[in-house]
């Protein structure tokens, strides 16, 4: 979220009950995006013998990330001071020290701000699950995800939202185009490359087993995203209202664009296509949602649908990388696209909120590109190192036989369906 400095913020006291109520609602909406939104969306896309494993991963990550967030994540992201040479904030608020019932963060209770940000810290590692679905070992997945949260998510979030070096350069990422989407996308791509393709990919049939789950989950993601982007305004005001409006338009435009591409290219529009286009549109509008107008949002959404559609085909068909649930082409590419388009459509001449005084589109584009590249680099390298490290402690991947039998039975001794 883009912290707008105003006299009210300096006045410090004065909880705004409207802002607080909205932020509490947004928090619930964003958690809902993970549980059960993403859990349903993802699990419907895998084979029926792995449906529970995906849900288990989402749930476990949600729980683990919550604890890590309050123990260290929140402080390292938003705490005062700097550690590790500016990579993160300080540990002054480790274990939420000093965060009490009456603590405030702007016009809302600090506890609410902690929780709202926590839901972002939860969904980002959960998104990566799509890159290694159907072959990852639960124990190594959990260890990797928790380390990834601390080593990748926290620093980038600090740079962008916690007063770090990207924020200082005027980097614009309203609700997480870089912090969430580029991070998750690149993380998933690296994981897919290191862990390797599923057995039989790409020749064996690996169709989704329950698209109704996926579509239900997609609906929850769309609605929840109102909290994701609208809540990033940190207030119940015009900025939040406009963010919701442009987010929605991004989703609608992205859906129609992907559906059209599919219709033209393959002859039929599909429901998987329309919901994937929706996610692409939403991910791409995310960084821009507090800065652009409705017209800009529609163009951003349409671009997302088209660009991410072709990116998906490229990864799957040309490079044959088994990023099983297409996290990189949708979130990674979409996030980069959105980060860059923000620089253009924030300009008043394109209906946006306006660039800062004296900043040209070209200059902002440079800053946006810098942030995107820095995120890709930090995430890519760190994810690689973490995966190699975890693999030394516990094997990342299950055995070939275990993979064939299915993770639900092998790792969890459970069966998703008994029909």
């Amino acid at each position: 979220m883009f912290l707008v400095l105003s006299p009210a913020a300096f006045a410090a006291e004065g909880l705004d009950t409207g802002d607080t109520a909205w932020m509490m609602t947004s928090t619930a909406l964003v958690l809902f995006m993970t549980l059960p939104g993403l859990a349903l969306f993802y699990s419907g896309l895998v084979g029926n013998r792995n449906v529970l494993s995906v849900m288990m991963q989402c749930f476990a990550i949600a729980c683990g990330a919550s604890l890590i967030w309050v123990i260290a994540g929140y402080s390292l992201t938003f705490g005062e001071g700097q550690l590790f040479g500016g990579l993160t904030g300080g540990m002054g608020k480790g274990l939420l020290a000093g965060v009490g019932v009456d603590s405030t963060s702007g016009s809302i209770p600090e506890s609410v701000f902690v929780m709202f940000q926590m839901t972002f810290a939860i969904i980002t590692p959960a998104l990566i699950v799509g890159g290694f679905a159907e072959r990852i070992r639960f124990s190594s997945m959990l260890l990797f995800s928790m380390l990834w949260l601390l080593v990748v998510y926290v620093p980038v979030a600090h740079w962008v939202w916690g007063g770090g070096w990207l924020a200082a350069r005027g980097f614009m990422d309203f609700a997480g185009g870089a912090v969430v989407h580029i991070n998750a996308g690149v993380g998933a791509l690296v994981a897919a490359l290191i862990i390797g393709n599923r057995k039989g990919f790409p020749t064996t049939q690996m169709a989704p087993h329950n698209l109704p789950f996926t579509v239900a989950g997609a609906g929850m993601l769309w609605v929840g995203w109102f909290g994701f982007n609208g809540g990033s305004a940190l207030a119940a005001n015009g900025a939040a209202g406009m963010a919701i409006l442009v987010t929605h338009l991004g989703a609608a435009a992205g859906s129609l664009a992907w559906m059209s591409c599919e219709w033209l290219r393959f002859g039929k529009p599909s429901v998987l296509g329309i919901v994937t286009g929706m996610v692409a549109g939403l991910g791409t509008i995310t960084p821009a949602s507090g800065f652009v107008g409705p017209g800009g949002a529609i163009i951003i959404g349409l671009s997302a649908g088209v660009v991410c559609f072709f990116a998906t085909l490229l990864i799957k068909q040309k490079f044959k990388i088994d990023d099983s649930l297409d996290v990189f082409p949708v979130h990674g590419v979409g996030g980069c696209l959105g980060i860059l388009l923000t620089a253009i459509f924030v300009s008043k001449s394109y209906g946006g909120m306006g660039l800062p005084e004296g900043v040209s589109i070209g200059h902002q584009l440079g800053v946006q590109a810098l942030g995107a590249v820095a995120t890709v680099a930090w995430c890519g390298i760190s994810t690689f190192v973490l995966l190699k490290l975890v693999n030394m402690i516990v094997a990342l991947r299950v055995s070939a036989d275990e993979e064939t039998e299915g993770l639900d039975l092998v790792l969890h001794e459970e069966r998703g369906y008994d029909i």
């Binding site: 049939q205 393959f266 998987l272 799957k316 068909q317």
Partner: protein
């Protein structure tokens, strides 16, 4: 006694069931199966990944029948299951050695 096994198009199941009732058949077992003969499969497309599906859903109906009623049963199935298009299915008639009614212990034709 004979076991009449019919593999039919699933949407014809209700018609077949009604036709069999009309010729006096009082019981049957239905299983959902997949298969193909001369009927071609179809393709499915998920995010650009194309899947060729050879196996088509079919319904398999099994009826235990007394020898003198086989012809009527087979004709009833053929009439009600036929659409005239490729993939209508097949009927297999096999010998049934023994039939037991579990509740009463009856054996043979009285157990049908």
């Amino acid at each position: 006694m004979k076991l009449v096994t019919a593999i039919i198009k699933p949407f014809r199941l209700d018609d077949v069931r009604n036709a069999l009732s009309e010729v006096g058949v009082q019981g049957m077992t239905v299983i959902e199966v997949k298969g193909f003969g001369r009927q071609r499969g179809h393709t499915e497309l998920y995010r650009g990944a194309e899947y060729v599906v050879d196996f088509l859903p079919k319904a398999k109906v099994e009826i235990a029948v007394a020898d003198d009623r086989v012809e009527a049963v087979v004709e009833a199935i053929i009439e009600s299951a036929r659409t005239g298009k490729v993939g209508d299915g097949k009927i297999f008639v096999t010998d049934l050695c023994e039939v037991h009614r579990i509740r009463t212990g009856e054996v043979g034709e009285s157990a049908l």
